[in-house]
């Protein structure tokens, strides 16, 4: 099998600032094989592959192509080595035709579009695509765009194809078509790397599976020896006893009733499909699911930030009356007296202002208070000091730009602010991502405090151990649909892992 090796990565390490994205990774990619690179979001899969496609350079480590040491300084180098990557976000020029996009960056060739068309047709025939070379990209559907990306890579004779979550935006039928194409390529002795976290797909299409977790290489297995369960175990790690304190609130009652929520993104792809559930006061409702299954859209819909296609979101007031949130802007929701805290996934891009200090960031929730044209800096200042002290935020001062703080401290600032007003509903997305153990526990305790004070807390998380020990109930999303709502005290990690990765079969609806 050694002669079959197309690319070998040795001791690859890549850091961004103080974050270690890839830590001493070793990986071998073979010809005539489909390798799945499996891992949760943030496990470093895409970063690793970007180093193969020339977008990043490793800080240290070596890359060997068929046994010889190579340096990939740019995408051009990658192409020269026969490496082609299809990124999750397509690299296509909207105003160009398919053919124009396909030949972009090709050397030593005249611009002879009819010859291009012929060659495209030949590729399509060989692997079973359909492409209209004269169509402009802005007129294309998502899957058509993806096809162009793949043809583009094949066109320049790539021997090694890397696909970054190619099925995320495809319908099941389109996915099947894609897999047929990939199998054809395999037969053609190409090396294929599929970055994904959908277990069903992994099992359906791959020969081998390499697993990354938190930037570290966990191992590689033959698909035929693997099961969804074994892969899940490797991907999420073994169950760890965390000993999170989980008191029971004596009087849980409905706080947020979501019914038939459906949203569509601006590309026309359905992001949430008929989602229904109830969040109760005095309860932490966990939301599990592979990244990109609709978590972000769910929270943003509730807070009024995401346009809703259909469905209803009702907030239950203390007196039992309800407030319909659909159709309201965030400000209208607040003005309607609906207290809501939201810790978004993108801390600096959405929840905080990176260039400002703690005090100014505290103000993001209170800036409009009072009638004066001046903002009131006193209460945010006090809050900032409180958060600084209580949550042990490490910062030189409350005016120090939060962008320059460490991830954990940034999150403390954000969570500290969101819980400060004791909101009846608290939504959190990946609240402990990138945080050390102590900080994580501090956050868990804060959320539990909220719960015990009667808040309905929604906790979108990625670590199943935490979800199991922290939450009361867990809502599992899969591809924008609810694949199950389970009691956290009774379920197992394995059950959730399966619900997260289930496609087809028993998707959607309450179980």
């Amino acid at each position: 099998m050694q002669t079959n090796c197309a690319i070998e990565l040795k001791n690859i390490r890549k850091t961004f600032g103080s974050v270690v994205a890839n830590d001493e990774i070793n990986l071998q990619i073979n010809k005539g094989e489909i390798l799945c690179l499996l891992g949760e979001n943030g496990s470093g899969k895409t970063t690793l592959m970007n180093m193969l496609s020339g977008i990043y350079q490793p800080d240290s480590g070596e890359i060997y192509k068929e046994g010889s040491l190579v340096s990939i300084r740019s995408p051009r180098d990658a192409y020269a080595l026969g490496i082609g990557m299809i990124h999750q976000h397509y690299h296509l020029v909207d105003v160009f035709t398919a053919a124009q996009n396909i030949i972009l960056g090709m050397d030593d060739q005249k611009l002879d579009l009819s010859a291009v068309n012929d060659k495209v047709k030949e590729i399509c025939d060989r692997y079973g695509f359909h492409v209209d070379p004269k169509k402009k990209v802005y007129d294309m559907s998502v899957s058509q765009k993806q096809t162009i990306e793949i043809v583009k890579v094949l066109y320049r004779g790539a021997e090694i194809l890397i696909l970054d979550e190619p099925t995320a935006v495809l319908t099941p039928q389109e996915t099947d078509k894609l897999f047929a194409v990939l199998r054809n390529m395999k037969k053609d002795n190409k090396a294929i790397v599929l970055i994904t976290h959908k277990l069903a797909e992994v099992l359906a299409v791959s020969d081998k599976v390499a697993i990354l977790r938190k930037g570290k290489y966990i191992g590689i297995v033959e698909t035929k020896d693997a099961t969804a369960q074994s892969l899940t175990d490797m991907m999420v790690g073994r169950a760890v006893k965390l000993n999170i304190n989980r008191p029971v609130y004596d009087n849980p009652h409905d706080k947020l009733v979501v019914n038939g929520l459906t949203v569509v993104d601006n590309e026309g792809v359905s992001r949430l499909d008929n989602v229904s559930f109830t969040a109760k006061a005095g309860e932490i409702l966990g939301v599990a699911g592979i990244a990109g299954s609709g978590q972000r859209e769910l929270l943003e819909s509730i807070t009024g930030l995401y346009p809703i296609k259909s469905g209803s979101i009702k907030f239950v007031n203390e007196d039992g009356s309800t407030n319909e949130l659909v159709g309201k802007t965030p400000m209208q929701i607040r003005q309607a007296g609906v207290g809501m805290g939201f810790v978004p996934e993108d801390r600096l891009g959405m929840g905080l202002v990176g260039s400002m200090g703690m005090t100014s960031n505290m103000m993001l929730r209170s800036w409009r208070n009072g009638r004066s044209i001046f903002f009131n800096k006193k209460s945010p200042e006090a809050l900032a000091n409180k958060v600084w002290k209580n949550l042990e935020v490490v910062t030189p001062s409350t005016d120090f730009p939060v962008r320059r703080m460490s991830g954990g401290n940034i999150q403390k600032v954000l969570v500290g602010r969101e819980i400060a007003s004791r909101p009846p509903v608290l939504l959190t997305a990946y609240a402990v991502r990138g945080l050390d153990i102590n900080t994580s526990y501090a956050i868990y305790n804060l959320l539990t405090d909220q719960k015990m004070s009667g808040s309905a807390v929604m906790y979108v998380g990625e670590e199943l151990d935490v979800l199991l020990e922290l939450c009361d109930r867990i809502l599992v999303l899969c591809g924008g649909k609810v694949s199950g709502i389970v009691d956290a005290r009774k379920t197992t990690k394995e059950e959730i892992g399966l619900l997260m990765t289930t496609v087809g079969g028993h998707e959607g609806g309450e179980q």
Binding site: S71, D77, P330, F342, W367
Partner: protein, 364 residues
């Protein structure tokens, strides 16, 4: 792939947290760039056959050595500073308003209209107040139009505001030769009467006081008001602004109104103070220069005083240079241009770090 196995010679890394350059170094780089610019600026002076040190000396003494010179320098700095203050909130919001020139002009037109219509019937104080309000309205209106289209249709504001400048100037030309012309054919609008003229303080029209007040006002607006806060949040991230419940489109329009209002105020000062009448040259390019002033000051109101001061000194001083050494006064534009280039370029060395091949990349 002949260099296979080697990493590139120089590679750029954006500085991130923990990797920031020290403040002392930042200022060393900035000051170094200014000095470098002045050294480059010696080239044209040498070409004109003059001693560059003597020339710089004349520039500075020509701008500052006599009270009269200082007054003229201040007079040049006032609109520059005013316009830079106006632009700052827009740039803070990442709204590229390069229409200050037109907004000043439109403010000047509105203020002049009041002067021309009412200078015979209204005494100084109410007249000047009315003129100011009109100027503010004119500038704000002119800024609002591109702001509206940006908020509504995402129309490219850079190009829009740029076009608006020339329309405003064209309107002045029309007024100058048409409805408001004094003696027919002269293209001159008669000087305003004394009640429409701003009084002098220390020999300069009192615009300098107004603009200093504006420095404080803009500083307060940007740093202590809800509006300023919204602007800053939007400039950092539109998503965060939406998250915080801000109406991004409205804030854009409102900020343009504010920016235009200050420009309009500058326009009023120019017609009522510096010029005493309206002409097509009323803004005279300050709207453009002010953009670089605002940008190089990193949108800090007080730093703008220094930058506007430096440019005014170069501008004023070089007219003396021409009179004394026969070095063309256009040397001011060259030196200013070089200065701007150097200061723009030097930020690179603050924000990026170069990693050389062979040097082990590690923690810095």
């Amino acid at each position: 792939m002949s260099e296979a196995g080697k990493t590139p010679l120089i590679r750029l890394v954006k500085r991130v947290k923990g990797d920031m350059i020290s403040p002392r170094k930042i200022w060393a780089i900035r000051i170094g760039s200014i000095l470098f610019a002045f050294i480059l600026g010696m080239i044209p002076i040498l070409m004109a056959g003059s001693n560059p040190f003597q020339s710089y000396g004349i520039i500075i003494s020509g701008a500052l050595s006599k009270p009269g010179y200082i007054r003229q320098t201040v007079k040049r700095a006032v609109p520059l500073l005013g316009a830079a203050l106006a632009i700052a909130p827009c740039f803070k919001m990442r709204f590229w308003n390069i229409g200050a020139e037109g907004q000043i002009t439109m403010g000047a037109i509105f203020a002049s209209a009041i002067a021309i219509w009412f200078q015979d019937s209204i005494p100084a104080l109410p007249l000047l107040t009315l003129m100011m309000l009109a100027g503010i309205a004119g500038g704000a209106l002119w800024a609002f139009i591109p702001g509206f289209f940006k908020a509504k249709y995402n129309t490219n504001e850079t190009l829009f505001t740029l076009m608006m400048n020339y329309i405003a100037i064209g309107i002045v030309r029309w007024l100058q030769g048409g409805p408001w012309e004094g003696r027919p054919g002269t293209q001159i609008i008669p000087m305003f009467k004394d009640n429409a003229r701003l009084p002098n303080v220390f020999g300069i029209y009192c615009g300098w006081i107004i603009v200093l007040i504006l420095v404080v006002v803009v500083h307060i607006y940007m740093n202590f008001t809800k509006h300023g806060y919204e602007v800053a949040v939007i400039g950092d991230s539109i998503n965060t602004a939406r998250y915080a419940g801000m109406n991004v489109g409205w804030v854009m329009m409102r900020t343009m109104l504010f920016s235009g209002a200050i420009c309009g105020c500058v326009g009023w000062m120019l017609v009522s103070g510096a010029n005493g009448t309206l002409n097509a040259d009323v803004a005279g390019g300050v709207g453009f220069t002010a953009i670089t002033v605002a940008w190089l000051s990193q949108l800090n109101s007080f730093a703008m005083i220094i930058i506007a001061g430096i440019l005014a000194i170069i501008g004023k001083g070089s007219t003396t240079l021409q009179t004394k050494l026969n070095v063309p006064a256009s040397v001011a534009d060259i030196v200013s241009g070089i200065l701007l280039f150097c200061m723009l370029g030097c930020e690179f060395f603050i924000n990026y770090r170069m990693v050389f091949r062979g040097k082990k990349e590690g923690k810095v």
